[in-house]
Structure formats: C-alpha cells, structure tokens
Symmetry: C2
Subunit: 344 residues, 2 copies
C-alpha cells in the first residue's frame, strides 16, 4: 500500500490519479463535452444549450491573508477568479453560488462587505448571486464559489486546440499581481511600498478584472486555444501544451511587463512575469493569419495583446516548452509554478 | 458601527442580513425562479429548461470527524447531502463539481477513497463528476460540492407552497442519524456501541440515502411543499412555515422513530427524533385528499410515509409551531436546532 501524500503527488498529479480512479461512467457522459481538466466543465442539460460550470476554493492562509485582503476585495476576487474561468472558455457568466466557512467570531459587517465586493463585480456583468451555504469553520475563513455561464452562439474555447504554427499571445502585462503581493509583504514604511506606482500593482492583485469581452472577441476571430493565467505563464502554458499535445517556444524578452514592475523590482521583474501567478490575463493561441484581427479587436476595447511565442510540433524527448533569449539562444530555467501543496 | 459576530447573528440571521444588503439586481433576475433561501436555486438558462443548483460545504471538526468518518463514506455523504437538496425540489441530479481543501500530509489513497465513495452514489444515480478544484488547507479538510439537476416535466417543489389544512408528513424514521452519532462518541467497548442494532444506526449517519424517486412521486401526487431534513424536524419545519407564511401543529408521539433508537436511548430518543439532524428524510405537506395516494406510491417503492401534523393559518402572536402530546395537550419545548456557529 502506497503512503504517498498529496504534497508528494502535487495538485496535478493528484488530479490525474483521481481521474484514473473514477469509473468511466462517473466522469464522462454524452452530455458532458468537457469534464475534469479544463477551465470549466461544459455540459448540455436535457433541454437546452451548452453550459459552462466552474468552482474555485480560496482558503485563508493559503490564498489570501486578511491582514491585507480587506473583505470587500476578497468578495470581488472570489467571484473574479471564477468569472475568469468562464471567460477563458469564451463564455458569458450568469449565476454564482457562494459557500462560506466562517469562524464564529467573524464580524457580520465583514461578511456584508464580502458580499458587497461580489456585488461590485456581479452587477456590471449581470451575474446573479443565486444561493449558497454558510457554515462554521474552526479557524480559517474558507470561500468556495461556483459560477455557471453559457456559451455565446454555442461555441467555446478549450485548452486543447493549439496547432503547430499557431502564435502564442497574452493580454495585458504579466507580473503585476506578483509585484503587488511582494509590496504587501514589505513593511508599510518601505520606500517601494510608498512608491506612487505601488497602489496600482497592489490593486492588480486584489481586484483582477476578468477579460470576459476580450475572450469572446478571440473566439469570434479564430483563436484555437485559451486559458486564464492563474498559476503563472510557466505554470499554465504547459497545460495548453499537454492538452493540445504540442510543444512551444517562447521569447522571454517579448513577455509584456509593466514599467513599474521593472522599476520597483529590477532584479526580480522577469521572474514575476514568468512565474508570478494571479494575473488573470488571457493566454491564447491563434493562427498567424488571425493575429492582426485579434490585436485590432483587443485595441478597440482598449486592451493590449502581445505575441510571445509559437506552437511547435512535439518532437520526441525534447522539452515541450523552450525559452529563448533575445538573440534566439536557449535559456534554461527550472519549470516551476505556484504549487498548492508546497511540492516542487 | 455594529460589532455583531456571526455567532451572535446565527446562520439564518446572517443569511437574512446578506439578502437585505445585496442590490436587488444581484440577487434576482427574470431567469431566477428561486434564489437565496430554498433547498436549491432554480434558474433558466438563455436556451433551455429550468435547472436546479445547490452547494454545500462540509468542514472537518464541524461537520465530520475523520476518527469515525472514513474517507469513502465522507465522499458518499458529501455528494448525498447535495443530491438530497436537488431531490427535495423534486429534481433529477445530473452533474457534480467537487472542491477539496486538503492538508499537505493527506494520503493520496484517502483522497482516492473519497472519490470512490462519491462514485458509489453517483454511478447508480447517473450523476457525472464533471470537475472541481483541489487546493491546500492549513489544518482542516474542507469539502464543497455543487450539484446541478434538472426538473422533470418543468415542475419543482419549494418550501413556500404549504396551505392551511394540508397534512404534514415525513418519510422513513427520524433520529437514527443522531443516535448513530451518539454511538460513535461512545467508547468502542460500550455495551450500546456493541449492540447488534448499532451498525445500522451508524450507517444512517454515514451513508444517508437521498430520496430522489420518492420526492418525484410526491410532486406527481400533488404535494404542496417539501424539504429534506438536515437540521432536525424542529429546526427545519419552521423554515417551511416561514416561507409559506403558515402555522402548524405536530403530534409528537406520531413522529416515526426506529425501535432500535428507542431501545438504545430510552431517555433521549424523542429529542433525537425531534432535534437530531442529518436524517435526510423528506418533510412535506400535501392536501388531505392526496395523502392516501402518496402513501401508496411510497409503499410501492418500499418506503414509509407518516403523517405527523397539520398546517394551520397564521394567527397573530401565537407560536407558529405548536407541539401536541398524545391527548392533544400542548407540549412546550424550546425551539432549538443544530446551529453552525454555536448560538442558541
């Protein structure tokens, strides 16, 4: 009998084990187009069109610290990370169910602020908070949000459609949330923490904006695969490569990083951009012929899209993700992302 | 500024405050027939028929103790309590999303056993496990399950339809799960724990069977309101009374209790039946003219249904729930149910 722990297996190793252990009729059905492993499930009810369903858990001490995450921004973010999953499939979020585990000495006003933060995001997106569950928790605050969305015109975008020759692109800039987290960990009188640009970086961490409209534009313009960036570029891009059974090259100097991140963290900005999580920007692939139209569509929304690499065919034992320097020379970094169980 | 805690407010007081604080457009929509407050949400997607959605959180140390809840039965129960909510609306469960918070030293085999327990229930019900989230948790195991179901023929059964004159009935017997919990808290060499009937009572706690088919039969035979019993009869019946704006009388001697509960707990069996939670039996109301047909339908499934009282019109300041003894005399018990935050 194996005594392997979840720390040993890691999040994705564990999910693979679970997938393999479940009877096929419990993890697949003719109504389930996408099951375990993508941003959302895609399911067709007996009467009606395809729905997108996603759930995310956030636990105090693991995903947030109430010393810097005020309750209102925690509410925003708890909903935003799920909406971002729906957006990553090209869907329109519609409905949220909220489960909260609360220590008994939690203040009611804090709980109401949490819901206010959800409402700040839900209102403009026309997402309805439809129900949930509130239970006691011994010590840590626990938040679990489930969001249901629907496709627009019956189409959706998975992680598995990337093709050799496609370009790889991201929206916005990367590393801002990681920089914001680092700033929050500094003493309040630290010079960097007091920089005029610090507030915007902290806000990038606390109030990510799901790219709902941009994802739908991508879908309309022929993108082949997409996901939202929650575990960092070097953590997430391999998921698209694995699901699509392809390889990739990424030119690391082309990865867009905000000037404020470079200025405040001259030694770490590239690590933040490549490995920092929680940007909730869009990572996608599209045929080269479509990129100009996608960039134009993004610009018309005031959003930036940057090409960072290219999808290649898988070739035997080689690394599936090759990083290139500015002169095209190979760069070797250990592959590493935020790992929920402290492995790696 | 109020400094009220969630312990002070209690679960249902807190839910009322949240409901009142949410902007109307965030808690209601034309597509949402049932929002916060019933067993499930009822939502109609843009294309298609009504869906039922429910979510329940279970936290180690609050809802279960791994000293007696083996992982496989924890998986069963985590899914069962959600399926029971779908069943309580007269729906057919279809899809589950599972979020798990796990301490890093959790054994992989235990996690796989958890999913096996889910599959034990999901397979026969044709419920598909479609996705989820697995995250680290500092100490307590946290389980959050969301189940989506659909109506059968477009109809569903809420807590708000009880009418004066309706009879009140329950399925099965009450108090077995509470007796099972008490047995698990006794030393293993205790005589009651070693009784031949103890195993079935412990099983009632660990492996509740959602009454999916029975609820659908109720719906077909004109029941007016229904819910599943999770917080005990005296905790749950007032929720139907409040939502339906009616009162009720219950003859406590008519509440069905297993002979083994009476025999093992001669002093406490009635409290267990009235206040013990987690039976996941069905509590419903129906016009007197329909009861015979409902009892016959239940019997054809091998299930017991017992009339325990009657819905009355609300009358001013009187208690909405009156308990009667065997001679019709009023019995006064403090209203009390399992309270998640330790209030009451």
């Amino acid at each position: 009998m194996t005594r392997q722990t979840v720390r040993d297996a890691g999040e994705f190793g564990l999910i693979d084990r679970i997938h393999a252990a479940l009877p096929e009729d419990v993890r697949t059905s003719s109504a389930l187009a996408i099951g375990i492993g993508d941003d959302t499930s895609v399911w067709t009810p007996p009467q009606g069109e395809q729905l997108l369903i996603t759930t995310d858990a956030l636990i105090e001490g693991v995903h947030f610290d109430l010393a810097w995450h005020d309750w209102r921004s925690l509410g925003w973010k708890s909903l935003a990370v799920n909406v971002s999953d729906i957006a990553a499939m090209g869907g329109q979020p519609a409905l949220a169910e909220i489960a909260l585990g609360l220590p008994a000495d939690t203040l009611v006003d804090d709980v109401l602020a949490f819901y206010q933060g959800m409402a700040d995001l839900a209102g403009p997106l026309s997402v309805v908070i439809a129900g949930g569950d509130i239970v006691g928790s011994p010590t840590a605050v626990m938040v679990n949000v489930t969001v249901i969305g629907h496709t627009v015109g019956g189409r959706f975008l998975t992680r598995s459609g990337a093709k050799p020759g496609d370009l790889i692109a991201v929206s916005g800039t990367l590393g801002a949330a990681a920089a914001g987290l680092r700033l929050l960990q500094l003493p309040e009188d630290n010079a960097r923490r007091r920089a005029t640009t610090a507030g915007a970086l902290i806000d990038a961490l606390l109030h990510p904006v799901p790219r709902v409209a941009l994802h739908q534009a991508l879908l309309a313009h022929g993108a082949t695969a997409a996901m939202d960036l929650s575990d960092g570029l070097l953590g997430d891009l391999p998921k698209i490569l694995a699901m699509s059974q392809v390889a990739a090259t990424v030119t690391i100097d082309s990865v867009p990083v905000a000037a404020s991140v470079r200025a405040l963290f001259p030694d770490d900005w590239q690590q933040m951009a490549l490995r920092g999580g929680e940007d909730y920007e869009l990572l996608f692939t599209a045929p080269e012929s479509q990129i100009a139209a996608i960039v134009a569509a993004a610009e018309s929304m005031g959003q930036m899209v940057t090409v960072i690499g290219r999808i290649e065919a898988q070739a035997g034992d080689h690394d599936t993700l090759r990083l290139l320097g500015s002169s095209g020379e190979p760069v070797h970094l250990p592959q590493h992302a935020f790992e929920h169980f402290g492995a790696g």
